[in-house]
Amino acid sequence: MWDGIGDFLAMGGHWPYVWGSYGLFALLLAAELLLQRHRHRRTRTVLNRRFRRTGSTRTHQGTGT
């Protein structure tokens, strides 16, 4: 269907619109994933540090629903 990579990238002259759409979508999804991973790791690190500091003190069993 495409006449080489150049033809594919040109998108029939519509490349700024097509790649501008897909590019920002990919960028924002990547940013969301990275932010989420960062938050997950930070939460685990903070909690681990707190648990090490407080030792094996028993805490409550959770809050249910």
Binding site: G12, V18, L29, Q36, T43, R50, H60, G62, G64
Partner: protein, 269 residues
Amino acid sequence: MSSRRIPWLTFAAPRNFHLLVQVLVPWLAGVAVLLAIAGLYTGFFVAPPDYQQGNSYRIMFIHVPAAWMGMFLYLLMAMYAVIHLVWRIRLADVMARSLAPTGALMTFMALWTGALWGAPTWGTYWVWDARLTSTLILLFLYLGYMALRATVDDRESGGRAASLLALVGAINVPIIYFSVEWWHTLHQGMSVTLTSAPTMAPSMFAALLLMTGACWLYCAAITLRRAQVQVLEDEADAQWVRDLLQPPTAESARTAEDPAGTIREEGHS
């Protein structure tokens, strides 16, 4: 209400929810990636150029899923808001809160890709068309919800106010959906409905479905993961979180069960 009688309530317990998400997310993410690869391949290498729009129509493969997700996630958020307001189930509030950023992102992407699709097709990036304007309002509703959560210090009252906003704002979703039928303006009508055959080539429709599946699973994975982290933070004082992050060794478990060491003494005597 016992969780035995209503099985789904089992996963409203934070610990069970955490375990469920731990199992689900890798599968959801894995299948999302596979569907996205298949969808992008079909969309760019199988589907032919449109006879009128040329190749700019390929923006549709992310524009439509993003728009659908923006609306769908809002309805889901409103549903969780109702559960939170009526039954006071805290996990419902966590879910609503976790859906908002991804919903806002999808709505923003629907507007962005719509603008970039509109430029070569309509000759303008933006018009105050009913569909576009109501989608912009949806974005503001998401941002308002998130701002309300972020600014009200008291988690409980802030959560209730935000839930109320989510609920009231849900009226906007059918307005967006039916806007192209109610007001005949610039945005095209529905190409895909439940009651009639799609008005596009089968390969285009296949790419659209694959990308929608990928988007849906991505949204499910990221919002569940966000809710899982929120649950960990909320339940930081619970023993199950401690056990999860620092699994007790055999020795520490024995000490915890028998702090005075009486069993050991008896064993020695």
